[in-house]
């Protein structure tokens, strides 16, 4: 199993470690629910070094990404701006979802998922050759120049980072959401996967332990992938491999807002998306009865049946919530039934965003 540079610290901190996409990662450090609350109420930090930063540089970097990604990188006009996009196959299925940061003309940084990194890089390299474009594609997860990533998230997260390393404050305090700045060796982005404010810090691997300890001393609580999953679910953010994969159109996974179909730009998968319109709505569910919603449970409503793609118990709402692919005619406010073991339990259809900045929306 692969290990991040913070693996020893996790072991020493009493983390329960699990195999996540071939990486030994913390599931929790004692209580997943307490970690979840720490992020909603104060500040938590996550080792996300298993994710892979990829630098795309060269004269053709922009034309390459313009043709590779379903979202349009021309939306990135200011240095440091980030864009969320899906990368599709020719059939319009999702190979991965990623963030792309615009650094400079001819210089972009992508952050791709851990389990999909190898296939993503192969896909990108095949197209670079096929399109005969002049650019380099450099993964930054291993070897010399390896980078680690620490996400610090929560209403107090930014203060924790400023406290942990005061010198970074002038550079990163002015950052607006979805912007990043290079500060010395560190790439500091005001982004995240929790629905809370905070930063994601990408830095040389050998410096990660020091920042982790400094953030812990500043009061950021170490959090595992368990809390990361319930936080992103409450925030209505998709998880690759669960809410969408290569067999799922982004239009059926609630990602239409990230797909730019406007002419004249062409991109991989566009023809397939145009030929196969949206078939499902991607909506939220709140269980009215007691129980826990889980992926793959069947949902039955007056317009037909659907399926839960992600579900869990929401620590903030103290109710079970889920993301689900439902028939197109389904409307927010509908009541549906979910098959849980031998019972059909009632659930309300809601917007697929349950909690934002500490407040319950659904």
């Amino acid at each position: 199993m692969q290990k991040t540079v913070l693996n020893d610290i996790h072991h020493r901190s009493g983390a329960r470690l699990i195999d996540f996409g071939g990486w030994e990662m913390p599931l929790h450090y004692g209580s997943q629910i307490e970690e979840h609350h720490a992020v909603r109420r104060d500040a938590g930090m996550f080792d996300v070094s298993h994710m892979c930063a990829v630098d795309v540089e060269g004269a053709d970097a922009a034309p390459f990404l313009r043709r590779l990604l379903a979202n349009n990188i021309d939306k990135l006009q200011v240095a440091g701006k980030a864009l969320y996009s899906a990368m599709l196959n020719e059939a319009g299925g999702v190979i991965d979802d990623l963030l792309v940061y615009y650094l400079d003309d001819g210089s972009y940084r992508l952050v791709i998922n851990a389990a999909t990194a190898d296939k993503d890089l192969a896909w990108m390299n095949v197209h670079r050759q096929q399109w005969q474009m002049a650019l380099s594609i450099t993964p930054r997860r291993e070897g010399a120049g390896a980078l680690a990533m620490i996400a610090v998230q929560g209403p107090q997260a930014r203060q924790k980072l400023w406290h942990a390393q005061p010198a970074c404050r002038p550079a990163c305090e002015p950052l607006k959401p979805f912007f990043a700045v290079q500060w010395g060796d560190q790439f500091i982005a005001r982004t995240g996967y929790t629905g809370e404010d905070g930063y994601e810090v990408t830095l040389p691997a050998q410096q990660a332990g020091q920042l982790w300890e400094a953030l812990a001393a500043a009061g950021a609580r170490p959090c595992g992938l368990g809390a990361r999953d319930t936080l992103r679910l409450e925030a209505g953010m998709n998880l690759y491999g669960q809410d969408m994969d290569e067999s799922v159109s982004p239009l059926d996974a609630g990602l239409a807002w990230t797909v730019d179909l406007s002419a004249p730009r062409d991109f991989v998968g566009k023809a397939a998306l145009l030929a196969k319109p949206q078939r499902y709505q991607f909506l939220g569910l709140v269980l009215r009865d007691r129980g826990v919603l889980r992926a793959h449970q069947q949902v039955v409503g007056k317009h037909g049946s659907g399926e839960i793609t992600s579900g869990s118990f929401s620590p903030t709402m103290q109710q079970a919530i889920a993301l689900a692919r439902l028939p197109l005619a389904t409307a927010i406010g509908d009541t549906v039934e979910v098959a849980i073991r031998d019972k059909l339990l009632g659930a309300a259809v809601v917007k697929p965003c349950f909690v934002r900045n500490g407040s319950i929306l659904a």
Partner: protein
């Protein structure tokens, strides 16, 4: 790992206490609650329900996963612990106090086949 010597155990990580009135009390072990993590939902059987040995009798769910709790021997349910339904976290806090249900064993029930503390410890260590 807390494995009280005066209880019996199953391979499915349940603990069993024999009561003076001939009934048995069933819960999940410290090891089981630790594997599951924070419990958020408990579903218990109806009083009077009858189960064969190893049949699913209850469900415990954490944020992470759902897990069945099996009848350790054949029997009928004489009492359930509603406190675990109302506040599932009590099972994490004290798994040997937060019992789930009590069974009156059927005439055919074989209590001797259950594991003792030493055998259960071995099972946990081998996992």
């Amino acid at each position: 790992m807390n494995i009280p010597a005066d209880l019996r155990y199953t391979r499915n990580h349940e603990w069993i206490r024999s009561e003076a009135d001939g009934t048995i009390t069933v819960g999940i072990t410290d090891h089981a609650q630790e594997l599951l993590g924070d419990l958020v939902f408990v579903e218990l059987p109806e009083v009077g329900a009858e189960f064969a040995a190893d049949q699913e009798a209850a469900v415990v769910e954490s944020v992470k996963a759902a897990s069945d709790v099996y009848a350790p021997v054949a029997g009928s349910v004489v009492e359930v612990n509603q406190a675990t339904v109302d506040a599932p976290e009590v099972v994490n806090q004290d798994p040997y106090a937060a019992w789930l249900f009590r069974l009156r064993p059927a005439a055919t029930a074989d209590l001797a086949a259950l594991l003792d503390a030493a055998a259960y410890q071995q099972l946990v260590d081998a996992a």
